[in-house]
Protein backbone atom coordinates (compact mmCIF):
# COMPACT_ATOMS: atom_id res chain seq x y z
CA UNK A 1 0.00 0.00 0.00
CA UNK A 2 1.97 2.90 -1.28
CA UNK A 3 -0.45 5.59 -0.26
CA UNK A 4 -0.75 4.15 3.19
CA UNK A 5 2.69 5.35 4.12
CA UNK A 6 1.98 8.71 2.55
CA UNK A 7 -1.15 9.01 4.53
CA UNK A 8 0.70 8.27 7.68
CA UNK A 9 2.58 11.52 7.47
CA UNK A 10 -0.59 13.50 7.76
CA UNK A 11 -1.60 11.29 10.68
CA UNK A 12 -1.66 13.03 14.03
CA UNK A 13 -0.01 11.16 16.88
CA UNK A 14 -2.18 11.35 19.98
CA UNK A 15 -1.59 9.58 23.27
CA UNK A 16 -4.24 9.00 25.88
CA UNK A 17 -3.14 8.46 29.47
CA UNK A 18 -5.60 6.12 31.20
CA UNK A 19 -6.30 6.09 34.94
CA UNK A 20 -5.98 2.31 34.83
CA UNK A 21 -4.65 -0.53 32.78
CA UNK A 22 -6.31 -1.17 29.42
CA UNK A 23 -9.48 -2.66 30.86
CA UNK A 24 -12.78 -3.81 29.42
CA UNK A 25 -14.71 -0.69 30.29
CA UNK A 26 -12.48 1.43 28.02
CA UNK A 27 -12.47 -1.13 25.25
CA UNK A 28 -13.59 1.45 22.69
CA UNK A 29 -10.19 3.11 23.08
CA UNK A 30 -8.34 -0.16 22.63
CA UNK A 31 -9.83 -1.59 19.47
CA UNK A 32 -8.68 0.94 16.92
CA UNK A 33 -6.67 -1.68 15.02
CA UNK A 34 -9.94 -3.52 14.53
CA UNK A 35 -12.51 -0.77 14.21
CA UNK A 36 -10.47 2.24 13.07
CA UNK A 37 -12.58 4.99 14.68
CA UNK A 38 -9.52 7.13 15.17
CA UNK A 39 -7.62 6.08 12.08
CA UNK A 40 -10.48 7.20 9.92
CA UNK A 41 -10.15 10.62 11.48
CA UNK A 42 -6.44 10.65 10.77
CA UNK A 43 -5.37 9.93 14.31
CA UNK A 44 -2.70 7.45 15.30
CA UNK A 45 -3.90 6.62 18.80
CA UNK A 46 -1.70 5.31 21.59
CA UNK A 47 -2.95 4.37 25.03
CA UNK A 48 -0.73 4.30 28.08
CA UNK A 49 -1.66 2.80 31.42
CA UNK A 50 -1.63 4.47 34.83
CA UNK A 51 -2.35 3.74 38.45
CA UNK A 52 -5.04 6.26 39.31
CA UNK A 53 -6.29 9.51 37.89
CA UNK A 54 -3.30 11.35 39.33
CA UNK A 55 -0.97 9.34 37.13
CA UNK A 56 -2.98 10.23 34.06
CA UNK A 57 -2.63 13.94 34.76
CA UNK A 58 1.06 13.68 35.56
CA UNK A 59 1.55 11.90 32.30
CA UNK A 60 0.10 14.79 30.33
CA UNK A 61 2.03 17.32 32.41
CA UNK A 62 5.29 15.54 31.69
CA UNK A 63 4.54 15.27 27.99
CA UNK A 64 4.20 11.50 27.97
CA UNK A 65 0.62 11.88 26.79
CA UNK A 66 -1.67 14.49 25.28
CA UNK A 67 -5.01 13.60 26.81
CA UNK A 68 -5.77 12.36 30.31
CA UNK A 69 -8.64 9.97 31.05
CA UNK A 70 -9.13 11.00 34.64
CA UNK A 71 -11.58 11.63 37.45
CA UNK A 72 -12.66 15.13 38.54
CA UNK A 73 -10.97 14.67 41.95
CA UNK A 74 -7.55 14.40 40.36
CA UNK A 75 -8.42 17.34 38.15
CA UNK A 76 -9.26 19.48 41.18
CA UNK A 77 -6.00 18.56 42.90
CA UNK A 78 -3.95 19.53 39.86
CA UNK A 79 -5.83 22.78 39.41
CA UNK A 80 -5.34 23.48 43.10
CA UNK A 81 -1.59 23.20 42.52
CA UNK A 82 -1.87 25.90 39.85
CA UNK A 83 -1.69 23.75 36.76
CA UNK A 84 -3.43 25.10 33.66
CA UNK A 85 -5.79 22.43 32.42
CA UNK A 86 -8.84 22.13 30.17
CA UNK A 87 -11.70 19.66 30.33
CA UNK A 88 -12.72 18.80 26.80
CA UNK A 89 -15.10 15.83 27.12
CA UNK A 90 -17.31 14.25 29.74
CA UNK A 91 -16.72 10.53 29.45
CA UNK A 92 -19.06 9.31 32.20
CA UNK A 93 -21.51 11.97 33.27
CA UNK A 94 -22.93 9.58 35.87
CA UNK A 95 -21.29 9.12 39.24
CA UNK A 96 -20.61 5.40 39.47
CA UNK A 97 -19.72 5.29 43.16
CA UNK A 98 -21.90 3.78 45.82
CA UNK A 99 -21.92 2.57 49.42
CA UNK A 100 -22.78 -1.08 49.88
CA UNK A 101 -24.00 -2.59 53.15
CA UNK A 102 -25.32 -6.02 53.96
CA UNK A 103 -29.08 -6.21 54.23
CA UNK A 104 -29.01 -7.26 57.86
CA UNK A 105 -26.98 -4.21 58.82
CA UNK A 106 -30.00 -2.01 58.39
CA UNK A 107 -28.09 0.75 56.63
CA UNK A 108 -30.35 2.25 54.04
CA UNK A 109 -29.53 5.92 53.79
CA UNK A 110 -26.40 7.99 54.36
CA UNK A 111 -27.53 9.05 57.82
CA UNK A 112 -27.43 5.42 58.95
CA UNK A 113 -23.69 5.37 58.41
CA UNK A 114 -23.08 7.37 61.58
CA UNK A 115 -20.81 5.46 63.92
CA UNK A 116 -20.27 2.62 61.48
CA UNK A 117 -17.10 1.14 60.11
CA UNK A 118 -16.76 1.68 56.39
CA UNK A 119 -14.16 0.18 54.09
CA UNK A 120 -12.46 2.09 51.29
CA UNK A 121 -9.67 1.04 48.89
CA UNK A 122 -7.14 3.44 50.23
CA UNK A 123 -6.76 6.84 51.76
CA UNK A 124 -6.82 8.60 48.41
CA UNK A 125 -9.05 6.43 46.32
CA UNK A 126 -12.19 7.57 44.60
CA UNK A 127 -14.12 5.39 47.02
CA UNK A 128 -13.01 7.50 49.98
CA UNK A 129 -13.50 10.83 48.24
CA UNK A 130 -16.98 9.90 47.17
CA UNK A 131 -17.79 8.58 50.63
CA UNK A 132 -16.77 11.94 52.06
CA UNK A 133 -18.90 13.73 49.48
CA UNK A 134 -21.89 11.61 50.38
CA UNK A 135 -21.40 12.17 54.11
CA UNK A 136 -20.99 15.87 53.48
CA UNK A 137 -24.31 16.03 51.64
CA UNK A 138 -26.11 14.78 54.72
CA UNK A 139 -24.11 16.85 57.16
CA UNK A 140 -21.80 14.17 58.47
CA UNK A 141 -18.00 14.35 58.60
CA UNK A 142 -15.17 11.90 58.59
CA UNK A 143 -15.15 11.90 62.38
CA UNK A 144 -18.71 10.53 62.58
CA UNK A 145 -17.67 7.23 60.98
CA UNK A 146 -14.71 4.92 61.15
CA UNK A 147 -12.98 4.63 57.79
CA UNK A 148 -10.63 1.69 57.28
CA UNK A 149 -8.37 1.07 54.33
CA UNK A 150 -9.05 -2.40 53.09
CA UNK A 151 -6.93 -2.64 50.01
CA UNK A 152 -8.36 -3.31 46.62
CA UNK A 153 -10.55 -6.32 47.40
CA UNK A 154 -12.79 -4.29 49.63
CA UNK A 155 -15.74 -6.62 49.46
CA UNK A 156 -13.95 -9.39 51.28
CA UNK A 157 -14.02 -7.61 54.64
CA UNK A 158 -17.68 -6.84 54.06
CA UNK A 159 -18.46 -10.49 53.46
CA UNK A 160 -16.33 -11.44 56.45
CA UNK A 161 -18.12 -8.90 58.58
CA UNK A 162 -15.05 -6.85 59.40
CA UNK A 163 -16.76 -3.69 58.13
CA UNK A 164 -20.39 -2.57 58.19
CA UNK A 165 -20.33 -1.06 54.74
CA UNK A 166 -17.91 -0.55 51.93
CA UNK A 167 -17.50 2.17 49.35
CA UNK A 168 -17.33 0.85 45.80
CA UNK A 169 -18.21 1.41 42.17
CA UNK A 170 -21.00 -0.08 40.11
CA UNK A 171 -18.69 -2.52 38.36
CA UNK A 172 -17.12 -3.57 41.65
CA UNK A 173 -20.56 -4.26 43.06
CA UNK A 174 -21.53 -6.30 40.02
CA UNK A 175 -18.38 -8.42 40.27
CA UNK A 176 -18.84 -8.92 44.00
CA UNK A 177 -22.38 -10.11 43.40
CA UNK A 178 -21.04 -12.59 40.88
CA UNK A 179 -18.71 -13.84 43.60
CA UNK A 180 -21.52 -14.53 45.98
CA UNK A 181 -22.17 -11.28 47.77
CA UNK A 182 -25.58 -11.76 49.33
CA UNK A 183 -28.45 -9.35 49.57
CA UNK A 184 -27.27 -5.80 50.03
CA UNK A 185 -28.52 -2.28 50.49
CA UNK A 186 -27.03 0.20 48.07
CA UNK A 187 -26.72 3.92 48.53
CA UNK A 188 -25.88 5.57 45.19
CA UNK A 189 -23.74 8.71 45.49
CA UNK A 190 -25.25 9.99 42.25
CA UNK A 191 -28.53 10.48 44.08
CA UNK A 192 -26.83 13.08 46.26
CA UNK A 193 -24.20 14.72 44.07
CA UNK A 194 -23.90 13.49 40.52
CA UNK A 195 -20.46 14.69 39.54
CA UNK A 196 -19.04 12.97 36.48
CA UNK A 197 -16.90 9.90 37.03
CA UNK A 198 -14.33 10.61 34.34
CA UNK A 199 -13.47 13.36 31.91
CA UNK A 200 -10.88 13.97 29.21
CA UNK A 201 -8.40 16.61 30.34
CA UNK A 202 -5.65 18.32 28.37
CA UNK A 203 -3.10 20.96 29.29
CA UNK A 204 -3.76 24.49 28.17
CA UNK A 205 -0.70 24.21 25.94
CA UNK A 206 -2.01 21.16 24.15
CA UNK A 207 -5.39 22.84 23.93
CA UNK A 208 -3.86 25.82 22.16
CA UNK A 209 -1.50 23.92 19.91
CA UNK A 210 -3.49 20.87 18.88
CA UNK A 211 -7.01 22.22 18.46
CA UNK A 212 -7.47 20.54 15.12
CA UNK A 213 -6.33 17.12 16.33
CA UNK A 214 -8.34 17.37 19.53
CA UNK A 215 -11.46 18.10 17.57
CA UNK A 216 -10.91 15.01 15.47
CA UNK A 217 -10.16 12.99 18.59
CA UNK A 218 -13.37 14.01 20.29
CA UNK A 219 -15.37 13.18 17.22
CA UNK A 220 -13.70 9.79 16.93
CA UNK A 221 -14.18 9.01 20.61
CA UNK A 222 -17.82 9.91 20.35
CA UNK A 223 -18.20 7.49 17.47
CA UNK A 224 -16.47 4.77 19.39
CA UNK A 225 -18.65 5.36 22.44
CA UNK A 226 -21.69 5.28 20.21
CA UNK A 227 -20.50 2.00 18.78
CA UNK A 228 -20.10 0.58 22.25
CA UNK A 229 -23.58 1.71 23.15
CA UNK A 230 -25.02 0.09 20.08
CA UNK A 231 -22.94 -3.08 19.95
CA UNK A 232 -22.22 -4.19 23.49
CA UNK A 233 -21.90 -7.84 22.40
CA UNK A 234 -19.26 -7.06 19.81
CA UNK A 235 -17.40 -4.87 22.30
CA UNK A 236 -17.51 -7.64 24.90
CA UNK A 237 -16.07 -10.05 22.38
CA UNK A 238 -13.26 -7.72 21.35
CA UNK A 239 -12.47 -7.00 25.02
CA UNK A 240 -11.50 -10.63 25.36
CA UNK A 241 -8.56 -9.94 23.12
CA UNK A 242 -7.76 -6.31 23.80
CA UNK A 243 -8.42 -5.80 27.49
CA UNK A 244 -6.24 -7.28 30.17
CA UNK A 245 -9.22 -8.22 32.34
CA UNK A 246 -11.45 -9.39 29.52
CA UNK A 247 -11.21 -13.07 30.28
CA UNK A 248 -14.92 -13.81 30.50
CA UNK A 249 -17.13 -12.52 27.71
CA UNK A 250 -20.31 -12.55 29.77
CA UNK A 251 -18.79 -10.46 32.50
CA UNK A 252 -17.36 -8.14 29.85
CA UNK A 253 -20.83 -7.64 28.48
CA UNK A 254 -22.28 -6.70 31.86
CA UNK A 255 -19.46 -4.27 32.56
CA UNK A 256 -19.83 -2.67 29.17
CA UNK A 257 -23.54 -2.30 29.76
CA UNK A 258 -22.85 -0.57 33.07
CA UNK A 259 -20.40 1.81 31.44
CA UNK A 260 -22.79 2.49 28.59
CA UNK A 261 -25.35 3.46 31.18
CA UNK A 262 -22.94 5.87 32.82
CA UNK A 263 -21.97 7.41 29.47
CA UNK A 264 -25.39 8.90 28.91
CA UNK A 265 -27.42 11.45 30.80
CA UNK A 266 -30.22 13.91 30.19
CA UNK A 267 -27.62 16.35 28.99
CA UNK A 268 -26.13 14.00 26.45
CA UNK A 269 -29.58 13.25 25.08
CA UNK A 270 -29.77 16.90 24.16
CA UNK A 271 -26.22 17.96 23.41
CA UNK A 272 -24.79 14.66 22.32
CA UNK A 273 -22.28 12.37 23.99
CA UNK A 274 -19.59 14.06 26.07
CA UNK A 275 -21.64 17.04 27.08
CA UNK A 276 -20.06 18.78 30.03
CA UNK A 277 -22.07 20.22 32.87
CA UNK A 278 -19.83 22.98 34.23
CA UNK A 279 -22.19 23.61 37.10
CA UNK A 280 -22.01 20.16 38.58
CA UNK A 281 -18.22 20.19 38.19
CA UNK A 282 -18.23 23.49 40.03
CA UNK A 283 -20.35 21.98 42.78
CA UNK A 284 -17.87 19.17 43.05
CA UNK A 285 -14.98 21.60 43.32
CA UNK A 286 -16.77 23.53 46.02
CA UNK A 287 -17.47 20.36 47.95
CA UNK A 288 -13.81 19.36 47.74
CA UNK A 289 -12.91 22.74 49.12
CA UNK A 290 -15.40 22.48 51.94
CA UNK A 291 -14.04 19.06 52.75
CA UNK A 292 -10.58 20.57 52.95
CA UNK A 293 -9.29 18.41 50.13
CA UNK A 294 -8.33 21.44 48.05
CA UNK A 295 -7.28 24.81 49.34
CA UNK A 296 -8.25 27.24 46.61
CA UNK A 297 -11.52 28.35 45.15
CA UNK A 298 -11.60 26.81 41.70
CA UNK A 299 -13.46 28.37 38.81
CA UNK A 300 -14.60 25.55 36.57
CA UNK A 301 -16.02 27.79 33.90
CA UNK A 302 -12.43 28.74 33.10
CA UNK A 303 -11.52 25.11 32.80
CA UNK A 304 -14.38 23.64 30.87
CA UNK A 305 -14.50 24.10 27.13
CA UNK A 306 -17.21 22.74 24.93
CA UNK A 307 -15.72 23.96 21.69
CA UNK A 308 -14.77 20.45 20.49
CA UNK A 309 -18.23 19.11 21.24
CA UNK A 310 -20.05 21.07 18.57
CA UNK A 311 -21.45 18.66 16.08
CA UNK A 312 -20.23 19.37 12.57
CA UNK A 313 -22.25 19.56 9.38
Amino acid sequence: KEEGSNEKESFAQLTVALWSQPITESVNLLVDDEKGFFKEKGIDLKVIPGAGGGDAIKNILSGQADIAFTDPGSLYFALDKGEKLKVIYNIYPQNVFNIVALKESGIEKPEDLKGKTIGVYSLTSGTRQNLLILLHQVGLTEDDVKIVETGISNFAPLIQGQVDATAATDTGLYLAKQKGLGDVNIIEVRDYLNIPSDVFVVTEKTYEEKKEELKRFVAAYRESAQWMLENPEEAAKLAKEFAIDGKDENINLEIIKLRNASSVSEDTEIKGLGAIDADVLQKGADTYQQLGLVNNQLDMSQVVTEEFLEVEQ
Partner: protein, 249 residues
Amino acid sequence: MKKTSVYSFLLFIFLLVIWEVTSKSYSELVLPAPSVIVLTLVDGLLSGYFTQHIQRTAAEVILGLFFGGVAGFTVGVLMGEVAFLRKLLFPYIIASQAVPKLALAPLFILWFGFGMTSKVVITALVCFFPLLENTVTAIQLSDIQKQELFKMLGATRLQTLIHLKIPSGMLGILAGLRVSVVLAIVGAVVGEFIGGSEGLGALIIATQAMMDTALMFATLILLTIFGMILYLTVSWLEKMWMKRLKKEI
Protein backbone atom coordinates in the same frame (compact mmCIF):
# COMPACT_ATOMS: atom_id res chain seq x y z
CA MET B 1 18.28 -37.43 49.98
CA LYS B 2 15.34 -39.13 48.34
CA LYS B 3 13.67 -39.31 51.71
CA THR B 4 13.82 -35.54 52.09
CA SER B 5 11.98 -34.94 48.85
CA VAL B 6 9.34 -37.38 50.01
CA TYR B 7 8.91 -35.50 53.28
CA SER B 8 8.93 -32.18 51.49
CA PHE B 9 6.25 -33.48 49.18
CA LEU B 10 4.20 -34.86 52.03
CA LEU B 11 4.39 -31.53 53.81
CA PHE B 12 3.22 -29.90 50.59
CA ILE B 13 0.24 -32.21 50.30
CA PHE B 14 -0.55 -31.67 53.94
CA LEU B 15 -0.56 -27.90 53.52
CA LEU B 16 -2.74 -28.21 50.41
CA VAL B 17 -5.28 -30.33 52.25
CA ILE B 18 -5.46 -27.84 55.13
CA TRP B 19 -5.91 -25.06 52.64
CA GLU B 20 -8.63 -26.92 50.74
CA VAL B 21 -10.53 -27.60 53.94
CA THR B 22 -10.16 -24.05 55.25
CA SER B 23 -11.24 -22.53 51.98
CA LYS B 24 -14.63 -24.26 52.25
CA SER B 25 -15.60 -21.91 55.03
CA TYR B 26 -14.60 -18.77 53.16
CA SER B 27 -15.96 -16.96 50.16
CA GLU B 28 -14.08 -17.61 46.95
CA LEU B 29 -13.27 -13.94 46.98
CA VAL B 30 -11.28 -14.32 50.17
CA LEU B 31 -9.65 -17.69 49.87
CA PRO B 32 -10.23 -19.83 46.81
CA ALA B 33 -9.67 -23.57 47.12
CA PRO B 34 -6.42 -24.96 45.69
CA SER B 35 -8.41 -27.20 43.39
CA VAL B 36 -10.10 -24.17 41.85
CA ILE B 37 -6.77 -22.37 41.54
CA VAL B 38 -5.13 -25.31 39.80
CA LEU B 39 -8.04 -25.56 37.39
CA THR B 40 -7.75 -21.86 36.59
CA LEU B 41 -4.02 -22.20 36.16
CA VAL B 42 -4.20 -25.18 33.83
CA ASP B 43 -7.01 -23.60 31.92
CA GLY B 44 -5.10 -20.33 31.50
CA LEU B 45 -1.97 -22.12 30.41
CA LEU B 46 -3.75 -24.31 27.87
CA SER B 47 -5.80 -21.49 26.41
CA GLY B 48 -2.66 -19.38 26.00
CA TYR B 49 -4.10 -16.65 28.20
CA PHE B 50 -0.91 -16.48 30.28
CA THR B 51 1.58 -16.84 27.44
CA GLN B 52 2.22 -13.22 26.52
CA HIS B 53 2.29 -12.18 30.18
CA ILE B 54 4.78 -14.88 31.10
CA GLN B 55 6.99 -13.94 28.19
CA ARG B 56 6.90 -10.29 29.05
CA THR B 57 7.72 -10.77 32.72
CA ALA B 58 10.41 -13.32 31.95
CA ALA B 59 12.03 -10.92 29.52
CA GLU B 60 11.97 -8.12 32.07
CA VAL B 61 13.35 -10.29 34.84
CA ILE B 62 16.12 -11.71 32.73
CA LEU B 63 17.17 -8.37 31.29
CA GLY B 64 16.92 -6.66 34.67
CA LEU B 65 18.81 -9.44 36.35
CA PHE B 66 21.48 -9.28 33.72
CA PHE B 67 22.03 -5.53 33.97
CA GLY B 68 21.52 -5.34 37.73
CA GLY B 69 23.67 -8.38 38.32
CA VAL B 70 26.52 -7.24 36.13
CA ALA B 71 26.36 -3.77 37.65
CA GLY B 72 26.10 -5.06 41.22
CA PHE B 73 29.02 -7.40 40.74
CA THR B 74 31.20 -4.87 38.96
CA VAL B 75 30.49 -2.03 41.35
CA GLY B 76 30.88 -4.45 44.24
CA VAL B 77 34.29 -5.48 43.00
CA LEU B 78 35.35 -1.88 42.44
CA MET B 79 34.13 -0.79 45.84
CA GLY B 80 35.68 -3.81 47.51
CA GLU B 81 38.99 -2.92 45.93
CA VAL B 82 39.05 0.85 46.12
CA ALA B 83 38.39 2.18 49.60
CA PHE B 84 37.96 5.67 48.16
CA LEU B 85 35.10 4.60 45.91
CA ARG B 86 33.58 2.67 48.77
CA LYS B 87 33.40 5.70 50.96
CA LEU B 88 32.38 8.00 48.14
CA LEU B 89 29.56 5.92 46.72
CA PHE B 90 28.04 4.05 49.62
CA PRO B 91 25.75 6.86 50.75
CA TYR B 92 24.29 7.08 47.25
CA ILE B 93 23.87 3.37 46.92
CA ILE B 94 22.13 2.99 50.24
CA ALA B 95 19.96 5.94 49.34
CA SER B 96 19.07 4.40 46.00
CA GLN B 97 18.07 1.22 47.78
CA ALA B 98 16.23 2.67 50.73
CA VAL B 99 13.92 4.62 48.46
CA PRO B 100 10.79 2.63 47.66
CA LYS B 101 10.90 2.14 43.91
CA LEU B 102 7.17 1.98 43.76
CA ALA B 103 6.91 5.58 44.88
CA LEU B 104 9.40 6.67 42.27
CA ALA B 105 7.64 4.73 39.59
CA PRO B 106 6.05 7.77 37.96
CA LEU B 107 9.51 9.27 37.67
CA PHE B 108 10.90 6.12 36.15
CA ILE B 109 8.13 6.20 33.65
CA LEU B 110 8.92 9.80 32.95
CA TRP B 111 12.55 8.95 32.36
CA PHE B 112 12.34 5.58 30.71
CA GLY B 113 8.97 5.57 29.02
CA PHE B 114 6.08 3.18 29.22
CA GLY B 115 7.67 0.25 27.57
CA MET B 116 9.75 -2.48 29.01
CA THR B 117 12.67 -0.19 29.82
CA SER B 118 11.22 1.29 32.98
CA LYS B 119 10.47 -2.16 34.39
CA VAL B 120 13.89 -3.46 33.46
CA VAL B 121 15.43 -0.49 35.26
CA ILE B 122 13.41 -1.12 38.40
CA THR B 123 14.26 -4.81 38.33
CA ALA B 124 17.92 -4.03 37.84
CA LEU B 125 17.89 -1.56 40.72
CA VAL B 126 16.25 -4.05 43.03
CA CYS B 127 18.63 -6.92 42.38
CA PHE B 128 21.67 -4.67 42.30
CA PHE B 129 22.03 -4.19 46.04
CA PRO B 130 22.21 -7.68 47.55
CA LEU B 131 24.81 -8.73 45.02
CA LEU B 132 26.76 -5.54 45.60
CA GLU B 133 26.76 -5.95 49.38
CA ASN B 134 27.87 -9.54 49.30
CA THR B 135 30.49 -8.91 46.64
CA VAL B 136 32.02 -6.02 48.58
CA THR B 137 32.18 -8.15 51.71
CA ALA B 138 33.42 -11.30 50.00
CA ILE B 139 36.11 -9.47 48.06
CA GLN B 140 37.57 -8.01 51.22
CA LEU B 141 37.55 -11.25 53.15
CA SER B 142 40.27 -13.18 51.38
CA ASP B 143 43.16 -14.66 53.33
CA ILE B 144 46.03 -12.26 54.08
CA GLN B 145 48.61 -14.98 53.57
CA LYS B 146 47.26 -15.72 50.09
CA GLN B 147 47.31 -12.03 49.28
CA GLU B 148 50.98 -11.95 50.17
CA LEU B 149 51.53 -14.87 47.84
CA PHE B 150 49.98 -12.96 44.98
CA LYS B 151 52.01 -9.89 45.79
CA MET B 152 55.08 -12.06 45.66
CA LEU B 153 54.06 -13.48 42.31
CA GLY B 154 53.89 -9.93 41.00
CA ALA B 155 50.20 -10.32 40.23
CA THR B 156 48.43 -7.16 39.12
CA ARG B 157 45.42 -5.98 41.03
CA LEU B 158 43.15 -7.39 38.37
CA GLN B 159 44.85 -10.77 38.49
CA THR B 160 44.63 -10.92 42.28
CA LEU B 161 40.97 -10.21 41.87
CA ILE B 162 40.32 -12.82 39.24
CA HIS B 163 42.48 -15.57 40.60
CA LEU B 164 42.19 -15.00 44.31
CA LYS B 165 39.56 -12.67 45.65
CA ILE B 166 36.64 -13.64 43.45
CA PRO B 167 37.16 -17.41 43.67
CA SER B 168 37.70 -17.33 47.41
CA GLY B 169 34.60 -15.18 47.88
CA MET B 170 32.51 -17.09 45.38
CA LEU B 171 30.18 -18.71 47.89
CA GLY B 172 29.36 -15.39 49.50
CA ILE B 173 28.78 -13.81 46.11
CA LEU B 174 26.45 -16.63 45.12
CA ALA B 175 24.49 -16.16 48.35
CA GLY B 176 23.96 -12.56 47.26
CA LEU B 177 22.95 -13.67 43.80
CA ARG B 178 20.36 -16.01 45.26
CA VAL B 179 18.78 -13.11 47.11
CA SER B 180 19.01 -11.02 43.94
CA VAL B 181 17.26 -13.45 41.62
CA VAL B 182 14.37 -13.80 44.01
CA LEU B 183 14.09 -10.04 44.42
CA ALA B 184 14.36 -9.53 40.66
CA ILE B 185 10.95 -11.08 40.20
CA VAL B 186 9.47 -8.89 42.90
CA GLY B 187 11.05 -5.91 41.14
CA ALA B 188 9.60 -6.73 37.77
CA VAL B 189 6.16 -7.37 39.22
CA VAL B 190 6.19 -4.15 41.21
CA GLY B 191 7.28 -2.35 38.05
CA GLU B 192 4.31 -3.79 36.23
CA PHE B 193 2.01 -2.83 39.06
CA ILE B 194 2.54 0.84 38.46
CA GLY B 195 2.21 1.18 34.78
CA GLY B 196 2.05 -1.98 32.81
CA SER B 197 -0.56 -3.31 30.46
CA GLU B 198 1.21 -6.61 30.04
CA GLY B 199 3.09 -9.03 32.28
CA LEU B 200 2.18 -11.08 35.31
CA GLY B 201 2.32 -8.03 37.61
CA ALA B 202 -0.18 -6.14 35.47
CA LEU B 203 -2.28 -9.28 35.43
CA ILE B 204 -2.33 -9.37 39.23
CA ILE B 205 -3.64 -5.83 39.36
CA ALA B 206 -6.21 -6.72 36.75
CA THR B 207 -7.31 -9.82 38.64
CA GLN B 208 -7.82 -7.75 41.73
CA ALA B 209 -10.01 -5.35 39.86
CA MET B 210 -11.80 -8.34 38.34
CA MET B 211 -12.16 -9.79 41.84
CA ASP B 212 -10.97 -13.06 40.37
CA THR B 213 -8.99 -14.25 43.36
CA ALA B 214 -8.44 -17.70 41.92
CA LEU B 215 -6.82 -16.18 38.84
CA MET B 216 -4.67 -14.01 41.09
CA PHE B 217 -3.45 -17.04 42.99
CA ALA B 218 -2.77 -18.83 39.73
CA THR B 219 -0.63 -15.88 38.63
CA LEU B 220 1.18 -15.89 41.97
CA ILE B 221 1.90 -19.58 41.52
CA LEU B 222 3.42 -18.89 38.13
CA LEU B 223 5.62 -16.22 39.68
CA THR B 224 6.65 -18.53 42.48
CA ILE B 225 7.59 -21.27 40.07
CA PHE B 226 9.62 -18.78 38.09
CA GLY B 227 11.37 -17.66 41.27
CA MET B 228 12.19 -21.19 42.22
CA ILE B 229 13.61 -21.97 38.82
CA LEU B 230 15.94 -19.01 39.07
CA TYR B 231 16.90 -19.88 42.63
CA LEU B 232 17.63 -23.48 41.77
CA THR B 233 19.77 -22.36 38.87
CA VAL B 234 21.97 -20.41 41.25
CA SER B 235 22.05 -23.35 43.67
CA TRP B 236 23.18 -25.52 40.82
CA LEU B 237 25.96 -23.07 40.01
CA GLU B 238 27.00 -23.27 43.62
CA LYS B 239 27.07 -27.04 43.54
CA MET B 240 29.28 -26.96 40.47
CA TRP B 241 31.62 -24.61 42.26
CA MET B 242 31.70 -26.73 45.42
CA LYS B 243 32.57 -29.73 43.28
CA ARG B 244 35.62 -27.89 42.08
CA LEU B 245 36.58 -27.20 45.67
CA LYS B 246 36.32 -30.64 47.13
CA LYS B 247 35.07 -33.72 45.45
CA GLU B 248 32.42 -34.26 48.11
CA ILE B 249 29.17 -32.31 48.20
